[in-house]
């Protein structure tokens, strides 16, 4: 499985597990609202290893790491560092004890330079003044030492995501971290950037650092780690050496049952053209060009996937088609009729369903009930309204049927949606959108923040809708997801479609990654030949 040669084991790693570098013993965490996040978790990390911590959302791995990093206090249990009991009450205390953390949402100040961010809080100073030259020199020296290339004088908000992540790692190293906690570091990276990150992690290990790697991408976990700990339902269900583990076993440990990681799907039965987009242009109110002439076609009974690093116009493309943003120019046709410039409601009535990428703000109304969320696009129509009055019985019947059909785990439909887990919340959205009998379904990041079980369910639903003849436009930052689900695959970069593959057969993530980075571009005629 691994493409890396095993690194030379450091002496401490060959020691028995008796004196681990970090040991969390019997950690229990109960939040004030009664949620049990960790239950008697014992977790040990040896010096010089890459230790992966995997588990579904809500399994408790973030809580465990927040406790280690001093952001949360355990209700019970003890932390040992280098064999000695210790307490960590704040991130600052964690840092002084040599523990650094790279958060998923970067903790950077956007308008500050990279050097300023690296030294923030512990700046080299002359009196009350910051010694900027010393800060830049320190950042450059550190970057050089660990092979993490950054431009110390560039502002953080203009550099790519991969570099921002390196800044975060350097920030931790600048503060003398020996143990680095990386929270889902590859979620925002292209395959190439992921590869670079892994090389950098290997280098950190060689100079004696220890890395805790939180992830749910099992193939990455198998590639990079020495040992893997799996969490489920607030408990640590096991720690495996890499050679004992495989993806299937890990998935089973995470979910607690057999999981089908591969998406079963028959070849697409492509029907007539449903969505036709030509030369779509869009700029934000402040004048930033986001879509620079996007053209694509989606046919009935197929899934057209759009891959790309986030922020290359995918969000805007989806929202323009869904009627949430007004394009500057271009053609958007549904079954031959223009839907450009229509209101979202008119677009929906024309037969477009939309699973928005930001579920919490655009997908559901958190304080409204499941029943209400399931009818927000149709409450003005029969049978939910008659004579201007809502009909509670019909609304309740509708929600009961959908809760059952989409296996939404909720006691009843009157519960506010905000009380549901991410996966069940997404099921509410999917149930509403698919039950509207759409001709076109736009699914943006449909499985983001959703656990493996629910992901499996979403994938099944998408394939089922496709087989029923719905045209599906799928946008996902998860490259393996978009590659395995799509019948045809487009790649977006800098507001343009830079590649369109008529099939995903034989396509590798690395190949797609080159287009995502913009290093490769298909000719316009080749793209058009696949329209």
């Amino acid at each position: 499985m691994s493409t890396h040669a095993p690194h030379p084991t450091s002496p401490s790693a060959t020691d028995s597990a008796a004196a681990p570098l970090v040991e969390m013993r019997g950690i229990t965490k109960i939040y004030p609202n009664g949620v049990l996040a960790n239950h008697e978790v014992t977790f040990a990390v040896r010096a010089g290893e890459i230790h992966a911590l995997v588990g579904e959302n809500g399994a408790g791995k973030s809580t465990l790491m927040k406790i280690l990093y001093g952001m949360e206090r355990p209700s019970a249990g003890q932390i040992f560092l280098r064999g000695k009991p210790t307490t960590i009450h704040s991130p600052h205390e964690a840092i002084t004890q040599g523990i650094g953390m790279v958060h998923q949402n970067f903790m950077l100040v956007p308008s500050f330079t990279i050097a300023e961010n690296i030294v923030l809080g512990t700046e080299p100073s002359r009196g009350a003044f910051v010694d900027r030259r010393a800060a830049i020199a320190a950042a450059a020296q550190l970057a050089q030492q660990y092979g993490l290339s950054v431009d110390p004088e560039a502002r953080v908000d203009v550099v790519p995501v991969g570099m921002r992540q390196r800044v975060e790692i350097l920030k931790a190293l600048y503060r003398g971290a020996d143990v680095l906690i990386l929270d889902e570091p590859t979620a925002v990276l292209t395959p190439q950037e992921t590869h670079e990150l892994f090389t950098a992690i290997q280098r950190l290990i060689q100079v004696g650092k220890t890395v805790i790697f939180i992830s749910h991408k099992l193939h990455e976990v198998m590639e990079i780690s020495d040992r893997i700990s799996v969490m489920r339902d607030a408990r640590l269900v096991g720690t495996l050496d890499k050679h004992e583990a495989n993806e299937r076993l890990l998935a089973k440990m995470m979910v607690g049952r057999e999981v089908f990681l591969n998406i079963e799907k028959t070849p697409a039965q492509r029907g007539p053209l449903v969505l036709k987009v030509r030369n779509l242009e869009y700029a934000t109110e402040t004048g930033v060009e986001v879509l620079k002439g996007v053209s694509l076609s989606v046919y009935a009974g197929e899934i057209l996937g759009i891959a790309g690093v986030e922020g290359n116009g995918q969000t805007e493309l989806v929202e323009v088609i869904a009627g949430l943003r007004t394009p500057l120019s271009g053609v958007i046709e549904l079954n031959g009729k223009s839907i450009a410039g229509l209101t979202p409601r008119q677009v929906r009535q024309a037969g477009v369903a939309h699973i928005p990428e930001d579920r919490l703000t655009n997908g559901v109304a958190l304080t409204a009930s499941i029943q209400e969320n399931l009818i927000v696009d149709r409450y003005t129509r029969e049978p939910f309204t008659r004579g201007g009055l809502m009909r509670p019985a019909a609304i309740a019947r509708n929600s009961e049927a959908l809760i059952e059909a989409y296996a939404i785990r909720a006691p009843d439909g009157s519960l506010p949606v905000g009380a549901l887990s991410g996966g069940n919340m997404q099921k509410v959205v999917v149930a509403r959108e698919l039950s509207s009998q759409p001709k076109l379904l736009i699914a943006a990041q449909p499985t983001r923040g959703v656990d493996i079980g629910a992901t499996e369910f979403m994938h099944e639903q998408l394939v089922r809708a496709r087989n029923a003849g719905v045209a599906i436009l799928l946008v996902s930052a998860d490259l393996s997801e978009v590659m395995s689900l799509s019948d045809r695959l487009a790649v977006m970069h800098a507001g343009r479609i830079v590649a369109l593959f008529p099939s995903t057969e034989g396509l590798t993530e690395e190949e797609v990654g080159l287009y995502m980075l913009g290093t490769k571009t298909m000719s316009q005629s080749e793209i058009e030949s696949h329209w």
Binding site: S90, I95, V109, L120, G121, N279, A283, T286, G287, L328
Partner: protein, 315 residues
């Protein structure tokens, strides 16, 4: 008309611009610090009023302008700290708390003045002190420049020196850099051990101090008494100057000068036979126009883009 033009293109007019810019610039610099610290302070108006009042009353009682200045400063800082306590410790909404302070300041100052002097309008019947006006040797004898740069009130000099001071504080000093980090990404600041709460206390205290200087200038420099609601919206115009100035010290100063120019103009025209009510509207209309222009400039690029796209031939 000729008379008016003559008045405007004179050194005394430019000197007047600096004079009326001072009570806008000082609170604007304070508001800028608070804004960049992530604690927008819209209580500048109220703080100015309280400081203007406290300064005059103490200077009447002690017959010392310096004790008056000190009292004004203390009153401003304490008021700002009260706002900070409500917002940062009691978790009250900062806008609502600031509105409460503004209303309290308007009624409270005149109440105190009435209690102490028996006058509900102003303290002009009593002898209060003024901050010194400073003649700068050599410069004062330069033609044209002399009358502009020399002979201004001490607080006017302080206001313009404070522009550089605030810039150095915000961009070169540890405390200022930490303060901006807190304002931009409090989680990032917290994660490197910066105390967000104390930085925001500092930001509000500094904004209170600068607004206080603006208030003291009004009652102990610009004029020599405290009058009901004498700030006349300058604390709010200062807020407009911050945003118009792109949230930088230099930009804020330029914006404050633009507003100062408008106000000086209204003073000049007031001497002519133009209806008084019309003339007094000038500073406020200038603020409105400036904000509209600002919004239009912001959108200009977008409009240019759209035009370009529309003209592009669609194949």
């Amino acid at each position: 008309m000729e008379q008016a033009l003559q008045a405007i293109f004179s050194a005394t007019f430019v000197a007047a611009v600096l004079r009326v810019t001072t009570p806008i610039l000082l609170p604007a610099l304070g508001g800028l610090i608070a804004e960049l610290g992530g604690v927008a302070n819209i209580a500048l108006e109220g703080i100015m009023l309280i400081s203007a009042c406290a300064g005059v009353l103490v200077s009447i009682a002690t017959q010392s302008e310096w004790l008056g200045l000190l009292a004004g400063l203390a009153a401003g800082i304490i008021t700002a700290l009260v706002l900070a306590f409500f917002h940062l410790d009691l978790k009250a909404d900062i806008i609502l708390s600031a509105i409460a302070i503004n209303i309290l300041a308007s009624g409270g100052t005149i109440f105190v003045v009435f209690l102490l002097t028996g006058d509900k309008g102003s303290t002009s019947a009593l002898v209060s002190r003024q901050m010194p006006f400073i003649e700068i040797p050599i410069i004062k004898d330069i033609p044209l420049l002399g009358p502009i740069l020399s002979g201004q009130n001490l607080l006017t000099y302080i206001a313009f020196i404070a522009v550089a001071g605030v810039a150095i504080f915000l961009y070169r000093m540890r405390a200022g850099i930490h303060l901006r980090a807190v304002g931009e990404n409090p989680d990032a600041a917290r994660s490197v051990g910066i105390n967000v709460r104390s930085q925001q206390y500092l930001a509000l205290a500094l904004s209170g101090a600068l607004a206080a200087l603006g208030g003291v200038y009004l009652s102990m420099g610009y004029v020599k008494f405290f009058a009901r609601d004498m700030t006349a919206g300058r604390g709010f115009i200062a807020l407009a100057a911050i945003f118009l100035g792109g949230k930088t010290p230099l930009g804020t100063m330029i914006a404050a000068l633009v507003f100062g120019l408008a106000e000086a103009l209204s003073v000049q025209l007031g001497n002519l036979r133009v209806p008084n009510q019309l003339v007094q509207m000038i500073p406020y209309i200038a603020t409105l126009i400036a904000l509209v222009v600002y919004a239009l400039v912001q959108r200009q690029r977008a409009i240019a883009h759209q035009r370009r796209f529309r003209q592009a031939p669609t194949p």
